[in-house]
Amino acid sequence: MRKSKRFAAIAMVAAFGLMAAACGDDDKTDTTSAPEASTGDTTGDTTGDTTAPVDLNVGLAFDTGGRGDGTFNDSAARGADQAQTELGATVTELEATNAEDRQPNLETLTDAGNGLVVSVGFAFGDGLAVVAAANPDTMYANVDGFYADATENVTFLSFAAEQGSFLVGAAAALKSESGHIGFIGGQEIDLIKAFEAGYTAGAKYINPDIVVEVKYLGAAGDNAAWGSPDKAKEIALAWYADGADVIYTAAGGSGQGTIEAAVEADAWAIGVDSDQYGTATPDQQGHILTSALKRVDVAVFETIKAFQAGTLTGGVQVFDLSTDGVGYSTSGGYLDDVVDQLEEIKAAIIAGDIVVPTMP
């Protein structure tokens, strides 16, 4: 019976493998759609979505494990929520469970009669190109993405993340007593390297001799990098023990580990994308110096608003300091003594007097 035992063991491995994939996805399926939203059956919705946006129906597609990260994806959801309350939009959310869901999910949202489909994350690129070309009457927006030769119904929402990072880098240098700070990135991809580049440049702008530690949690494609608070915490604790006193983390849900480490080491952490002071526990709040804001919520809301007004035209929309698409938070008041200096730097960046690098 040795064989059947091994057979059973292997089935267990496979079953756990499947279930591990399910972990963390639970309860994230809060569909906020109107109940009459069709499921894309044979009722011919595909031909019906050419109607003008009288009813403001918006689809919101998240990537795998996206929803509930406390930063980037939730920020997109907040923008959609705002559109729901302020513009009367009906928002249908759909989260991918694997890479192959991306294109079908965009299709499902299109077929459900949404006039605008917003996808969160550049990974949607390939699927979006196919779906957008096949559905010229539906508008599409993609957060962070870009591909060449896109059709006219695609708007790319792009962020000057390096500018916000420059400001929190300057804040870190102003607040650091040891002259030793750190940066933890998620995947080592250009998107995140822009955060690193801005942060380092901002810190050196204040203190040219400052020491900036840099570490990434994973290589490109290593999705675990966005959800490994344990790894971030380990790195942060080591750096704090080594004399660093401010650490900025641009790694999605992993940033939670840095915040925990900052509490243990009685040092500063810097949040990313959303104002993480707002979602932190009271004992953590005392250790969140600031957050580099990447206002995905603003971008999503403005896009829906433009769509409603009929002014959404496709192409690349850049959200930067000048439009408050990126920025820094002041919750907790820890930056009160340096905020004037930061505002001067901000004005200099907007005026073009300071050019922030996008690559380290």
């Binding site: 192959e100 079908p104 390939d126």
Partner: protein, 388 residues
């Protein structure tokens, strides 16, 4: 593991008496050779039915109507577009399941299909992008590179097992992790191909001569034909060839097979390498039909889902196709279910319960059949039977 080895009707005559001897030995030692195809089919169907009932109870317990959920699944899934999507999603799973099944036939558990197909995709993407050939040759060469990459990568645990007695399950699991590191390193350091402004960085895009045409534009790749050829080849090799007979004999009972002159070491290496070669092809829909390059936004999980499909399909060619389509169908309705406010996780729950029930049902049925066989053999030989 379930087909009747002892009564192998198509055993090549060249094997002659030694084959017969092996069959008898195998059936005597394993005592579970008589499980008919019908019983196998019934136990798989029962597993699916039980899983649907259990998942239904779960839905009901969380305040959702199971009937509503299942009818939504059928409504959403049985449209033309979704059936094409089902087939498209099933294609890589079927190929991966064949790779797993080849290992299973030799009583080897190739958990490494996950890593082997990624190796196949990556190296095929790299080599394919830098050569120029007429279309048929280009695609053929890419297939060869993918198969070679998968085969070489699968040879590592095979050699470790033969030379050092390292359990292939542990070796392949560890190699999966190593695969990711190697590919990430090679991609980052050598083969990134930057397109200004594009964050979704990939390897260099394949020349159009390497693009596999779609049977239905943007919905169904012609790679499904290759996948079906792979299944057919699997059937011919494993069930109709001398090699396949040896493979199954060694898998069923290595000691008996060795007694009959079949080297189990060479069978281990050969079957692992074959398994890896097929695994290397699993990602070809992605590479040649949808993405045309390798990138970090690649699909993942073909290997693990392939194990599930092979288990449910009971390693039988037809079973694998049906199980693959079922998996593809479940994946394709997850999105519409979410829109209908039914947790998509129910799809994963159904898959997991199917797997567990397959094992349990198989075990129960297997024991019964084993006992009956043992009794019958005892009666024939009029010998006391050592517990099977």
């Amino acid at each position: 593991m379930s087909e009747p080895i002892a009564t192998e009707p198509n055993a090549p005559s060249a094997e002659g008496t030694s084959a017969n001897a092996v069959s008898k030995l195998v059936s005597l030692f394993t005592g579970r050779s008589q499980q008919s195809a019908l019983v196998t089919l019934a136990s798989s169907l029962a597993a699916v039915a039980i899983a649907l009932v259990l998942a239904g109870i779960l839905l009901w317990a969380t305040g959702k109507s199971p009937f509503d959920a299942y009818s939504k699944m059928l409504d959403a899934g049985l449209t033309n577009d979704k059936l094409l999507e089902t087939t498209q999603r099933a294609t890589p799973l079927i190929v991966a399941a064949v790779a797993v099944a080849i290992g299973f036939k030799m009583n080897l558990f190739n958990i490494g299909v996950e890593g082997q197909y990624l190796m196949g995709v990556f190296w095929a993407a790299v080599v394919g992008a830098y050569i120029h050939l007429p279309s048929v040759l280009h695609i053929g060469l890419i297939f060869l590179v993918a198969m070679a990459a998968g085969a070489l990568w699968a040879a590592v645990p095979a050699i470790l097992k033969v030379k050092k007695g390292v359990n292939e399950v542990i070796a392949t699991i560890m190699l999966n992790t190593i695969t990711l590191s190697i590919i990430d390193w090679a991609f980052q350091e050598q083969f990134r191909y930057e397109i200004p402004g594009q964050l979704d960085v990939k390897t260099k895009v394949l020349p159009t001569t390497a693009w596999l045409p779609d049977l239905v534009k943007n919905r169904l790749s012609s790679f499904i034909i290759v996948a079906l050829v792979v299944v057919l080849a699997f059937w011919l090799i494993v069930y109709k060839s001398k090699f396949g007979f040896r493979l199954r004999a060694s898998g069923a009972n290595a000691v008996a097979a060795r007694t009959a002159g079949i080297s189990s070491n060479s069978m281990i290496v050969t079957s692992m390498v074959m398994s890896g070669a097929i695994a290397g092809l699993a990602g070809m829909t992605y590479l040649l039909s949808t993405s045309h390059a390798y990138g970090p936004t690649r699909p993942e999980g073909y290997g693990f889902n392939g194990i599930a499909v092979a288990l449910l399909g009971r390693n039988h060619p037809a079973g694998i196709i049906v199980a693959g389509l079922l998996w593809g169908f479940l994946d394709s309705v997850a999105g519409p279910l979410q829109i209908a406010d039914i947790p998509q996780s129910i799809v994963l729950v159904i898959k997991a319960i199917i797997l567990l029930t397959v094992v349990i049902v198989n075990e129960v049925v297997g024991r019964r059949v084993a006992k009956r066989t043992a009794d019958r053999t005892a009666a024939q030989l009029t010998l006391p039977v050592v517990a099977a």
